[in-house]
C-alpha cells in the first residue's frame, strides 16, 4: 500500500524517458519502457486492490501545492474502494493496449512518440482517479484531455486527424468551463477543495440558495449541474457528444484505451465521486438520468445506419456511457461504476477487434466492403462475437449483469424510472441489433472488397491477438463479481463500493425484478435475431426499409444534423466575428495601429535625433567638457 505512489509516477517516468531519448536512442524499443512501467503499475494496483478489500484505505497529502490566503491545495492521494476499481480498470486496459500497440503501431515513424503519449495519458488518468481534492482532479481531467488531443491528432499530417483533435479539445472546453466554475463554487461554499471536508459538511448546504445571473438558485443543484457540465463534455453526452465519433481519426488502440475504456468514463467517475453532492439535489439527479437516457437512445439510433466500423463502435460507446449516467441519475452509483468496469473490457475488445480488422484490410473501415472475414481471421471473429454478446446483454456475460443492474435500479426508482427503464430497454434492443449488424455484415457472407484486399487478408500477429483473448475473458467473466441475489449471487461489487457511494434506493418485488430482467433479455435476443434475419436471410430488406423511410434514414445517416446545427449556430458566427470584428477592427485597426504606430513614431524621432551623432570626436569631447562644467557648476552653486 505504501508504494501506491509508484502507480502514477512510473508511467510519468516512462513518458520522460521516451520523449527525451525516444527519438535518438530508444526508437523501436520504446515500448519496453512504457510497457514495463504500466505493468508494474498494474501489479501494484492489484496489490492495492487486495489491501482495500482487506479494509485499508488511504487519504494522505503528499505536499502543499498552492497556498494563497485561505486557498490551500495539496497534491494528495485518496485510495478507497472507488479508486481501487478505477485503478484496476485503467491499468489493466492500459497494459493490454500497450501490448496490442506493439503490433499495431509497428513501423510507424512516430512509434516512440506514441508510447510516450500513452504513458503520459496513463499517468494523467491515474492522477485523476487518485486525487483527494478537486483541483488535482481538475489537473488530471485537463491532462487526459491534452493527451487525448495529442493522440487523436497523432497522425497530424492528415488534416482530418488534426481537425478532429482540435474539435475534441474545443468541445471539451465548453464542458470544462462549467466544471471549473463548479470547482470555484465548491471553494466559495466550503472554503476548501479536499473531498473529505467537502463531503463531510455537505449536508449543511441543503436548502441554501445563491444568486446566479440574477436568479436565486438552489446551491446543491447549481454545484451538481456545473460539475455535470464537465462530465457531459468529457463523457460525450448530449449535447457535447460530437467530438467522440470524430476522435476515431486517432490510432485504434487509442480509441480503445481513451475513447472507450478510461478517459470518457471519467465523467461517470466524477459523478460517482461527488455523489454526496448529487444526492442532495433531486432536480440535478433527474437531469443526469434524463441526459443519460436520451443520449443512450439517440446514439443507439445513429449507430444503426453507420457503415464505418469504428464510428459504429464509437456511437455504441456514447450510448453505453448514457447508460452509466442513467444509473447514476437514479442513485445507483455502484451500478454505473459496475457498468463502467464491464464496459471497459468489452468495448476495448470491440475496438481492438476493429483495429485487427483494419490491420487485415489495410486501413479499410467501411463494413459494406468487408464480409466473410470469419474464415480468414477466426480469433478476431470469436473475440469480437464474445464482446458483442456481452454488450447485447446475453445472460451469463459481463454486460448482462451490469446492464440488468442498471435497468432494474432505474425501474425501481419510481414513476420517472419506468420511463427511463423503457428507454433503456429499447436501447438494449438497438444495441444488440447494431452490434450484430457488424458481425453479420463484416464477418459473414461473401467478401465484397477488392481483389488485392482479399489476397492480403490475414489473422493479426500474436502480439495483437493475445490481448484480444485476455479482454475476451474479461468480457465473459468480469461481471461475475456482481451477480444479483435474484440469481443466487452476492452482489459483491455493490457491497464493495457501498462505503463510498452508498446503497441504491428504491424497492421492488421479486416478480418485478424478474419481469424487467426477462424483458431486457428478450429485447436483446430479439435485436440479435432481427439483425440475423435482416443481414443473413434477406440482405435486400435493409435497403428496402431504408428506401421506405428515407427521411428517417437520412436523419440518422447524418447523425441528426447536429454537426451541421453547431456549424450554423456556433462555428460560422464565430468565424464571422473573427473575420469582420477581430481581423477587421480590433486586430487590423487598433492593435496593428498601435504595433505599427509605436515603431513609426520612434523611427521618426530617431531619424531626427541621429543628427546629433556626427561621428566627429571633437564634438563628443566638447560635450563631455561641457558636461563636466555643468556638473561642477551645479555642485558649486546650487
Amino acid at each position: 500500500m505504501d508504494n501506491y505512489l509508484l502507480i502514477p509516477f512510473l508511467p510519468l517516468a516512462a513518458f520522460f524517458v521516451n520523449i527525451l531519448f525516444g527519438k535518438t536512442l530508444i526508437r523501436d524499443k520504446s515500448h519496453w519502457v512504457s510497457l514495463f512501467a504500466v505493468v508494474c503499475s498494474w501489479v501494484i494496483a492489484v496489490m492495492t486492490l487486495f489491501e482495500v478489500i482487506g479494509g485499508r484505505t488511504v487519504n494522505r497529502d503528499l505536499y502543499t501545492w498552492i497556498v494563497s490566503g485561505d486557498f490551500r491545495v495539496s497534491v494528495g492521494f485518496l485510495i478507497d474502494q472507488l479508486t481501487a476499481v478505477m485503478l484496476i480498470v485503467v491499468t489493466t486496459v492500459s497494459s493490454l493496449v500497450h501490448i496490442y500497440s506493439i503490433g499495431y503501431m509497428h513501423g510507424d515513424k512516430g512509434y516512440y512518440r506514441f508510447f510516450a503519449y500513452l504513458s503520459l495519458f496513463t499517468f494523467s488518468m491515474l492522477m485523476l482517479v487518485m486525487a483527494n481534492n478537486f483541483l488535482q482532479l481538475y489537473f488530471g481531467w485537463e491532462a487526459v484531455g491534452l493527451c487525448s488531443y495529442f493522440l487523436i491528432g497523432f497522425w497530424y499530417e492528415k488534416k482530418s486527424a488534426s481537425d478532429a483533435g482540435k474539435k475534441a479539445f474545443i468541445v471539451n472546453r465548453f464542458g470544462d468551463f462549467g466544471f471549473g466554475l463548479g470547482v470555484i463554487m465548491i471553494f466559495l461554499t466550503f472554503g476548501t477543495l479536499h473531498y473529505a471536508p467537502v463531503f463531510g459538511s455537505v449536508n449543511g448546504i441543503v436548502g441554501k440558495t445563491v444568486d446566479f445571473l440574477g436568479l436565486q438558485v438552489d446551491l446543491p443543484t447549481l454545484i451538481a449541474l456545473l460539475l455535470f457540465c464537465g462530465a457531459v463534455g468529457k463523457s460525450a453526452q448530449l449535447p457535447l457528444h460530437v467530438w467522440l465519433p470524430d476522435a476515431m481519426e486517432g490510432p485504434t488502440p487509442v480509441s480503445a484505451l481513451i475513447h472507450a475504456a478510461t478517459m470518457v468514463t471519467a465523467g461517470v467517475f466524477l459523478v460517482a465521486r461527488c455523489n454526496p453532492i448529487f444526492v442532495l439535489s433531486p432536480p440535478a439527479m433527474n437531469v443526469v438520468a434524463l441526459v443519460g437516457a436520451v443520449t443512450a437512445l439517440f446514439a443507439g439510433t445513429i449507430a444503426l445506419v453507420q457503415n464505418d466500423i469504428k464510428r459504429i463502435v464509437a456511437y455504441s460507446t456514447v450510448s453505453q456511457l448514457g447508460y452509466m449516467f442513467l444509473a447514476c441519475g437514479v442513485g445507483a452509483f455502484s451500478a454505473g461504476i459496475f457498468h463502467l468496469y464491464t464496459h471497459a473490457f468489452f468495448k476495448a475488445l470491440l475496438f481492438l477487434g476493429a483495429g485487427s480488422v483494419m490491420h487485415a484490410m489495410a486501413g479499410e473501415l467501411d463494413i459494406q466492403k468487408m464480409g466473410g472475414l470469419k474464415k480468414h481471421m477466426p480469433l478476431t471473429y470469436w473475440t469480437f462475437l464474445l464482446a458483442s454478446l456481452s454488450i447485447s446483454g446475453v445472460p451469463g456475460f459481463a454486460g448482462f449483469f451490469s446492464k440488468d443492474e442498471i435497468l432494474w435500479r432505474a425501474y425501481a426508482s419510481g414513476p420517472l424510472g419506468h420511463l427511463l427503464y423503457a428507454i433503456g430497454a429499447l436501447t438494449a434492443l438497438l444495441t444488440a441489433f447494431y452490434s450484430f449488424r457488424i458481425i453479420f455484415v463484416a464477418f459473414h457472407g461473401k467478401f465484397r472488397g477488392t481483389h488485392e484486399q482479399e489476397h492480403h487478408l490475414h489473422e493479426s500477429p500474436k502480439i495483437m491477438t493475445v490481448p484480444l483473448l485476455i479482454l475476451a475473458a474479461g468480457a465473459l467473466a468480469a461481471g461475475w463479481v456482481g451477480i444479483p441475489p435474484l440469481l443466487g449471487g452476492g452482489e459483491h461489487f455493490a457491497e464493495f463500493l457501498a462505503p463510498v457511494v452508498g446503497h441504491a434506493k428504491g424497492e421492488g418485488t421479486h416478480a418485478e425484478e424478474w419481469a424487467t430482467m426477462i424483458t431486457a433479455v428478450i429485447l436483446g435476443l430479439g435485436g440479435i435475431a432481427a439483425a440475423a434475419f435482416v443481414y443473413l436471410r434477406k440482405s435486400t430488406l435493409a435497403d428496402t426499409v431504408a428506401g421506405r423511410f428515407s427521411f428517417i434514414y437520412r436523419l440518422l445517416w447524418n447523425k441528426y444534423y447536429v454537426d451541421e446545427l453547431y456549424d450554423t449556430i456556433i462555428v460560422r458566427p464565430t468565424f464571422w466575428v473573427a473575420k469582420n470584428v477581430i481581423v477587421g477592427v480590433t486586430d487590423g485597426k487598433i492593435i496593428e495601429g498601435i504595433v505599427n504606430g509605436v515603431p513609426r513614431f520612434i523611427g521618426t524621432l530617431s531619424s531626427w535625433l541621429r543628427n546629433i551623432q556626427t561621428g566627429m570626436v571633437h564634438q563628443y569631447a566638447a560635450v563631455m567638457a561641457l558636461g563636466a562644467f555643468v556638473v561642477i557648476a551645479i555642485v558649486l552653486f546650487w
Partner: protein, 170 residues
Amino acid sequence: MMAEGIFIYLAAAIVILSVLVITRSNPVHSMITMLVLFFHIAALYVTLNAEFLAAIQVIVYAGAILVLFLFVVLLLNLKEEMVARRYIGPWPLGVLAALGLLVVIVLSLKSFIPGPSGVFTTEVVRAETNTKVLGQILFTEYLYPFEVVSMILLVAIIGAIVLAKKRLRN
C-alpha cells in the same frame, strides 16, 4: 623661501611647457617639449617627498610611453603635417570650454576641506624610505588592485598586437 622659489620655477616651467606641447605644429617638437615637461614634473614629485614616483615618472613616462609615441610619429608624413591646419575650425569654442572648466575648478578649490591626517608623516617616511613604505602598502592593502592592473597590462599587450597586426589575406 627656498622651497617657494623652487616651486614657482617648476610651476611656471610646467605650465609654459604644457602650452607649448599643445601648440607645436611639428609633433616631434611637441614630443621633445613633453620630455622636458616630464622631467620637471618628476622634480616636482621630489619636492613632495615622492622619490619613487619621480623615478617611475622618468622611466615609464619619459622612457617608455614617449618613445612609443615617437615610433608612431615617425610613421606620419611630417612634411605634410607641417603645412596642414593645426586646429579644428571652431577652435575658439574649445578654448572657451576649457577656460570655463578652469573657472569652475578654481572656484571649487575654495571649498576644499582637508581630511584627517594619516600616519605616514614626513619623518616616518624618511625613517623607512619612501620606496619601502609604498611597497608595504601596495603589496598588502592594494594587492588585489595590483594584480588587476597586471591583468590590464597583459590585455593591453595582446590588444595592441591584435589591433596593429596586418590583416592576413584570406
